[in-house]
């Protein structure tokens, strides 16, 4: 019917996400009020916990680093028109590669551990994502279905590996711990303000990943082909772009990015691999990518928000005992709900608002 003028860019990338977050906090505030606490104080605690002091910042940035990886994974696939919701499984399987190399090299120097485990994590994540990519490209199995199923397969496979194959004797399904010589340096070693936070050298890999994705998508010919395929598959066919090749390559890149989370979390902080170490960060990556409009700058900001939410939420549960950690999860879920799943909720209203003064005619139908 009537073609409407698209929203101004600043509304799309700034105002709308802000409204969504605000709404999430209003509803979350109601939940806090329902358990008899002051929502404004809860908000204060949450924000202070995330940004109020050095250690809080450290935790926030550490979580954000993981979200950058899983968010970029979703975004890269999205540019090719693929909805990769298998980041969870890809990060999990990547943990296997990362930890094996880390344990193998941990008597040398952390630089070798960093480089080796990064390459291994990317390779394992890429392979795990390429299988659904191949199935979509060659067999037409829908990538959403296969990536979900591969999350379950990853979970079962990793449980088996951790319990039976690379397990530490006597432990409950986890690997050996990386030796002191091979541990990645924490940033608190250089910046004392971060005190006991787990923020580590992987943070810089996160920044490199953001730059890499920007260059890939907007500054390379491959990125051009990826965007063409994602925006108009028929035009890609016309241009002689092989959808099969692009889908497989993009899924490999996507899986590799998701896999980097293993370096940050498993190698960098836990220093071993345990069952279920991904803790849903792969799924949060979906919300991060959508909130960030699949652009590295947006993803960096969205990842920071979710990092703050995770860190501030832990602080909140600690400071206000009646706000249980479950309620914190509820608030996090609300933010995901409003910014991810329902991110377009305000769009019709805003469109009407912005079209009132400066609409555009529908193109004549002849």
């Amino acid at each position: 019917m009537r073609a409407q003028k698209p929203l101004p860019r600043w509304v799309d990338i700034a105002l709308m996400p802000a409204l969504n977050v605000a709404l999430a906090f209003v509803v979350g505030g109601l939940a806090v009020a329902a358990v008899g606490e002051d929502p404004f104080r809860a908000m204060q605690v949450l924000i202070f916990g995330a940004f109020g002091y050095g250690e809080g910042w450290g935790f926030t940035l550490h979580f954000a680093t993981s979200f950058v990886f899983t968010g970029l994974a979703v975004a890269v696939a999205y540019h090719a028109g693929l909805f990769n919701i298998g980041g969870e499984g890809q990060a999990y399987v990547a943990g296997l590669g990362a930890i094996m190399v880390a344990l193998w090299l941990d008597q040398t120097h952390w630089v070798f551990v960093l480089v080796g485990s990064t390459l291994a994590a990317m390779t394992f994540g890429a392979i795990w994502a390429m299988i659904p990519g191949y199935l979509q490209a060659k067999r037409g199995s829908h990538i959403v279905i296969t990536t979900i199923m591969f999350n379950f397969i990853a979970s079962a496979f990793m449980s088996y590996m951790l319990a039976q194959v690379i397990t530490r004797p006597g432990a409950n399904a986890e690997t050996e711990t990386i030796a002191e010589t091979g541990r990645l340096p924490l940033l608190s070693e250089y910046f004392s303000a971060f005190t006991y936070s787990p923020l580590n050298i992987t943070f810089f890999i996160g920044i490199l990943a953001l730059i890499f994705v920007y260059v890939l998508i907007w500054r390379t010919k491959l990125g051009y082909q990826i965007r063409t395929l994602g925006a108009n598959p028929e035009a890609a066919r016309y241009a002689g772009i092989s959808a099969v090749a692009i889908i497989i390559i993009v899924m490999a890149i996507s899986g590799a990015l998701a896999g980097l989370m293993a370096v940050n979390e498993a190698v960098g902080v836990q220093k071993r691999l345990g069952v279920g170490y991904v803790q849903g960060f792969g799924f949060v990556g979906i919300a991060v990518a959508f909130m960030g409009r699949a652009h590295p700058i947006g993803i960096a900001l969205a990842a920071l928000l979710f990092g703050a939410l995770y860190q501030g939420g832990q602080e909140l549960a600690f400071v206000m005992p009646s706000v249980s950690s479950d309620l914190v999860v509820v608030i996090q879920a609300l933010v995901i709900l409003f910014t991810g799943a329902m991110s377009e909720m305000f769009k019709p209203v805003l469109l009407r608002l912005f079209n009132r003064g400066n609409g555009e005619p529908e193109p004549a139908g002849d």
Binding site: Y224, T228, A235, A239, G240, S242, N358, G359, D366
Partner: protein
């Protein structure tokens, strides 16, 4: 007041704006009862908006509408129908897997049980078919009907709902000349029975042939309303565009050289395994334009797709410059470009462009791998934009801004983006599908000149169009396709009758006396109509 008014419809000062754009400006349009009134104008002149106001899709910002002398506020399309205004859309609004009868009562079922209304509708439909010459089998499934017959169902639908005024939006765009003639006979019947017809079209010959009066629209305004007998096609074209237009492409005779494109025994099936192109062979020489005429959906689209390397043929070969092309899956389209073949696809927005891309990004579509756009994997925005800017100037693309989103260009300018990309390079073969579909008259003139210039520069040009006038104006030779086969080859000067016959599948050279079944179009004909 009331029924004794001479005017079926009277628009007085109707205006409609979409934001800053004035789609209709102070429109006065009296339409006499029992007349056939034409409305002509370029794309975006506001014809469709005006009719949408009359049919209740939009509400006018100001102005008055009188129906049979009574002032009305048309709330929505069902209200328009109550007032006796029916519309036959350019794109049919039919349920394909329903029967004709079911489609006709759709939305006017009148009661809980279907059987009763179906019975009543059947007798009513028989009466209408008799009165107006609208023969259609009521029990046929719509998907089994030809396009011409589907259009009759649309007209029946409107009449069944008691329409006294019928609005038809580009009704002949999808018809063979024979079917169009039949439609005009139906118009005469409707006219004889006292109905009023409003015909929106861009084909000036139709206006001249059947209307009593005609309104010319330009940029949302009525330029003039004339008695058809007092005007001419040249005059109308000038009024539409606002300046003199060369109606006929100025073209000297060609000078065909060696064979550049050869198609040998080509057969193509679609995804469902239905044969679309059947054993087609022809060649195109350097310095000539070969036109492929035919009603939409007779295999032209599939033929273009195979020659451009987008799909693989079932059988047959394609030779370019004396070399046989090996098909290698999705990369074949890119390979064809290396071999010197440029392709302007039939549907620019679906195939030829990425609407969300900025103009310069579409200016490299299909050629992004070329080293001039950056070494290796690097995409040089600068190189691509500089080239895009040059093309914008050369092809007069407006607005001249390569950073603008492609969706924000008009149809004619979008088409120029595609043409500029495909023509502004080294090439030997140019294949062009529907070069002026949805393009305004001013741009048509420009595009035709460009195509002829390509020929004169010694390129082999293959032109596919459902606009017969276009084919005849541009081609040196014409091949007519019907049901996936090439029926015959004609000269562009061949008679209207010869084209009509061959587009319906009869070779006029062989079967001079065989009558043509009207409306009988191949099963594939419906598919091609979007």
């Amino acid at each position: 007041m009331g029924q004794d008014s001479e005017l079926a419809i009277d628009l007085r000062g109707v205006s409609k704006a979409f934001g800053p754009v004035q789609a209709n400006k102070n429109i006065f349009m009296p339409i006499r009862r029992n007349s056939i009134h034409g409305i002509v104008g370029e794309n975006g002149a506001g014809k469709s908006t005006l009719m949408s106001i009359l049919y209740g899709f939009y509400h006018a910002d100001s102005g008055e509408i009188f129906v049979n002398g009574t002032k009305v506020q048309i709330k929505d399309s069902s209200h328009a129908l109550e007032l006796g205004i029916g519309m036959v859309h350019q794109h049919f609004m039919l349920v394909d897997n329903f029967t004709v009868l079911e489609n006709i009562i759709l939305g006017a079922e009148g009661g809980f049980l279907l059987a009763k209304s179906l019975k009543a509708a059947r007798s009513e439909m028989e009466r209408l078919a008799r009165d107006y010459g609208l023969e259609v089998d009521p029990d046929a499934l719509v998907e089994d009907l030809s396009v011409g017959q589907q259009q009759r169902v649309e007209i029946l639908k409107a009449l069944y709902r008691g329409a006294e005024v019928l609005i038809l939006d580009e009704p002949t765009g999808v018809l063979t000349p024979t079917e169009a003639d039949h439609l005009f006979k139906i118009f005469e019947q409707l006219h004889a029975q006292g109905k009023t017809i409003i015909l929106i079209t861009h084909k000036l010959r139709e206006i001249m042939a059947i209307t009593d009066s005609v309104s010319v629209m330009r940029r949302g305004e009525i330029v003039t309303t004339l008695k058809t007998s007092e005007t001419s096609p040249d005059n109308l074209a000038e009024l539409m565009v606002g300046r003199r237009v060369e109606m006929d492409a100025q073209k000297t005779s060609g000078d065909p050289q060696k064979k550049v494109l050869e198609v040998k025994g080509l057969s193509v099936t679609d995804e469902l395994g239905v044969p679309r192109v059947k054993n087609v062979s022809f060649d195109v020489r350097a310095g000539e334009i070969v036109g492929i005429a035919g009603v939409a959906g007779n295999g032209q689209s599939q033929l273009l797709e195979v020659i451009s390397g987008m799909t693989e043929p079932l059988l047959g070969e394609i030779w370019i410059n004396g070399k046989r092309v090996e098909f290698e899956g999705a990369k074949t389209a890119a390979k064809m470009r290396h071999l010197g073949l440029a392709h302007v696809p039939e549907d620019r927005l679906k195939t030829g462009l990425v609407a969300q891309f900025e103009e310069w990004e579409n200016s490299i579509l299909g050629y992004s791998e070329e080293p001039k756009y950056g070494a290796g994997q690097i995409l040089s925005h600068k190189a691509a934009r500089e080239e895009a800017d040059q093309r914008i100037e050369k092809f007069d693309i407006r607005p001249p801004n390569c950073r603008l989103k492609t969706a924000n260009f008009s149809g004619g300018n979008q088409q120029k983006i595609v043409l500029a990309r495909e023509m502004d390079r080294e090439l030997d073969v140019l294949i062009v599908g529907q070069p002026t579909r949805g393009v305004d008259i001013g741009a048509i003139e420009f595009i035709h000149k460009q195509i002829i210039a390509m020929r004169d520069a010694g390129k082999a040009v293959l032109l596919v169009s459902v606009e017969l006038d276009e084919i005849r104006a541009l081609s040196d030779r014409v091949l007519v396709m019907f049901d996936g086969k090439i029926v015959t080859e004609l000269t562009p000067e061949a008679s209207e009758r010869e084209f009509g016959l061959s587009m319906a599948g009869v070779d006029p050279h062989e079967e001079e006396s065989t009558p043509v079944a009207t409306g009988k179009v191949s099963a594939g004909a419906k598919e091609g109509v979007r």
